[in-house]
């Protein structure tokens, strides 16, 4: 791809400045997202995947703070922007969809009013046009009889419908970048399929760049072009979906994949990763995965740099054999 990326994050460091000390939530996070690309950002709770989304969107509130690094949107650094400058971007150029649509939508305002708020944040338009655009947006995400739904309160809609409304609001201004933070985790399988289908179609039609944050590898397997795996605040592996899932280079990625119950494995013991993710306040020296890694050696105690192996990146000094072979 020759076009500049929609988003380029370089050496992003985000910390929480607590009275007990600095907690480094993100360290040296770098990646790019191109137009029309779907990037899957995968990690367990506490890996920093949501904080990455919040940092990009400028939604961190104290004690969270972007300490250093660049967040370039269409080549322009937005990392140090003021709140009001970020407000001009949010919704317009970057939009975000969160996990729980009951928490994102205001329970005491009708859907239509909430959509109008989002529209009027960036546009001066008449009531009539506002209504027409809201209805069109609801129609596009597949909400039946949008003329009526626009007068509904969030609690009158099902979970799947609410998430559709959240997606519709995020897409109102046709943003260049949409960040979805576990948008289907709270939904049923069939509804999850509907949201996946919807997002996939809209991205393809409009060329929107998408970051899909999830802990579920299987969800991103179906839609993502590239996958980033995060562990304890760092990206540990970065590659295309096939590379990462078929020949994982980092032992942690391998462990994650093996933990997922899959077909043909009925009744067998699942391969489990021993132990659990260390607290960010208490990270071991060198590779953070070292204490849980079965392949760890002395060399792992040294700080790990991101290494490039045949076009992909992995933060491991002893990447799994299949890759180097």
């Amino acid at each position: 791809m020759t076009a500049p990326p929609v988003l380029e994050v370089e050496n992003l460091n985000t910390s929480f400045l607590l009275s007990a000390g600095e907690v480094k939530a993100l360290r040296d996070v770098s990646f790019k997202v191109h137009r029309g690309e779907i990037l899957g950002l995968v990690g367990e709770s506490g890996s920093g995947k949501s904080i990455t989304g919040f940092s990009i969107n400028g939604l961190l509130s104290p004690p969270g703070k972007v300490m250093s690094g660049a967040i370039r949107l269409h080549g322009e650094d937005i990392a140090g922007r003021s709140t009001s400058a970020m407000r001009a971007l949010r919704g317009q150029t970057i939009a975000m969809v969160f996990q729980d649509p009951m928490m994102t939508l205001n329970p005491v305002l009708k859907i239509g009013l909430q959509m109008a708020d989002a529209l009027r944040a960036h546009l001066r338009i008449s009531d009539r046009e506002c209504r027409a655009r809201s209805i069109a947006a609801l129609q596009e995400v597949g909400i039946p009889s949008p003329e009526d739904r626009i007068n509904a309160f969030p609690h009158q809609l099902s979970g799947g419908m609410r998430q559709r409304v959240a997606v519709a609001i995020a897409l109102l201004h046709e943003p260049d970048l949409v960040i979805m933070d576990e948008p289907t985790t709270a939904l049923d399988v069939t509804i999850q399929g509907q949201i996946l289908a919807l997002v996939q179609r809209l991205c393809r039609e409009r060329g929107t760049a998408l970051i899909w944050i999830t802990h579920d590898l299987a969800v991103v397997a179906g839609i993502a072009d590239r996958i980033l795996v995060m562990y304890a605040g760092r990206i540990v592996e970065d590659g295309t979906v096939d590379e990462v899932l078929d020949t994982p280079a980092h032992p942690y990625t391998r462990g994650l994949i093996d933990s997922v119950p899959s077909r043909g494995q009925r009744g067998k013991r699942l391969q489990q990763i021993p132990g659990r993710m260390p607290a960010l306040t208490d990270l071991p020296e060198g590779c953070a995965f070292r204490p849980r890694c079965t392949l760890a050696t002395q060399a792992c105690a040294a700080p790990q740099e991101m290494r490039t192996l045949a076009g992909r990146h992995v933060r491991c000094c002893r990447p799994l054999a299949e890759v180097s072979a």
């Binding site: 367990e44 996939q200 179906g222 119950p261």
Partner: protein, 338 residues
């Protein structure tokens, strides 16, 4: 020993009644609206063999948790019977135990781990008071919690560890059947694998029978021997897990299985079943699934399908034979690879 450990016969559970005399009279006179009656579980029957794992799957609101609670004895059925067959001479303190989804709200925050696990065996005199401490320590160790933390409170543990405490608490009264209601759904993938492995080890060790309720078909496929698929309170398909996953006979089961994202499915175009699960207050006529079913015909709108037994499986669909006779099941349009 063989034979069923649990028999569920035509169990139904309704919530809400017609109201008291005043309410029902006023409703009859058309002065107020009759309070709705929701049939959460509608005429469910099955037998569960000792040592087997029954997986109950379905979307939210399908009644799977209500059925689980009835099996665990937390809710009496409105009609029908749930019978437990215990071995002679074996006195089990509390034969059915439940493990809940949310390990954050199912453990008393004011109790220490030792009391959380030890209270029930103490009250029910499962062990001598003098041996209680050693008994609890043994259980904690078996479930993967270091006994040295017995004085801690629940909030001092991670989600996975709390779920281990919940399992230890359930095991403490020597149950026959464990009902796990979405017990691994709130956990991270790597922790989920640890807990699933623990469940399977404990089953072998304590000869437990599980009722495993989950909306995650991958997990259920992994550990269940028998699958029971529910839709709006009714069973739509039930049979050996392997068969059901290999060739689902009910269109709903097919849609569920095909709609599950899987690691080996890349760049797929999702074409899921349309619509939401209808409200159980006013379920569709005939076959509950017909408004969302691409194969629905006139009969499906009017007649409630009977349970048919095909190849050792119960299917509640008018056209189950037709689907079963297909040589190669026609691919459901849910996903296609680009």
């Amino acid at each position: 020993m063989s034979g069923p450990v649990l028999t569920v016969k035509n169990a139904s559970r309704k919530f809400g009644d017609g109201g008291d005399l005043v309410v029902s009279t006023l409703a009859r006179l058309g002065l107020i609206r009759r309070p709705p009656v929701v049939t959460a579980v509608d005429d469910v029957s099955f037998e569960l063999e000792r040592g087997k794992v029954l997986g109950i799957v379905g979307e939210s609101g399908c009644g799977k948790s209500t059925l689980g609670r009835m099996i665990a004895g937390l809710l009496p059925p409105t009609s029908g019977e749930i019978t437990l067959h215990l071995e002679d001479g074996v006195s089990r303190a509390l034969p059915m135990q439940m493990i809940f989804q949310d390990p954050f709200s199912s453990l008393n925050p004011r109790k220490r781990v030792h009391d959380l696990v030890g209270e029930a065996p103490r009250v029910h005199r499962v062990v001598d008071p003098g041996e209680l401490e050693a008994y609890v320590d043994r259980l904690m160790e078996r479930c993967g919690i270091d006994p040295s933390v017995r004085q801690r409170f629940a909030h001092q543990f991670s989600g996975g560890q709390r779920q281990r405490i919940g399992i230890a608490r359930a095991l403490a009264v020597e149950p026959e059947i464990l009902v796990a209601d979405e017990a691994v759904s709130a956990l991270d993938v790597s922790v989920q694998a640890q807990i699933i492995n623990l469940f399977m080890d404990l089953r072998d060790e304590f000869e437990l029978t599980y009722v495993f309720i989950s909306h995650d078909l991958g997990v259920v496929e992994h550990i269940a021997d028998t699958i029971l698929v529910m839709y709006l309170g009714r069973v739509v398909e039930m049979g050996p897990a392997e068969d059901v996953f290999r060739q689902p006979l009910h269109p709903y089961t097919r849609a569920l299985i095909d709609g599950v994202p899987r690691l080996d499915r890349r760049r797929v175009t999702y074409e899921p079943i349309a619509g939401d699960i209808p409200s159980p207050i006013d379920p569709p006529s005939g076959c509950h699934f017909h408004p969302r079913c691409p194969f629905a015909r006139e009969t499906c709108r009017t007649d409630r399908p009977e349970t048919r037994t095909i190849n050792g499986r119960d299917v509640v669909c008018h056209f189950a034979e037709e689907i079963a006779s297909e040589e190669e099941p026609s691919p459901w349009p849910a996903t296609q690879t680009v």
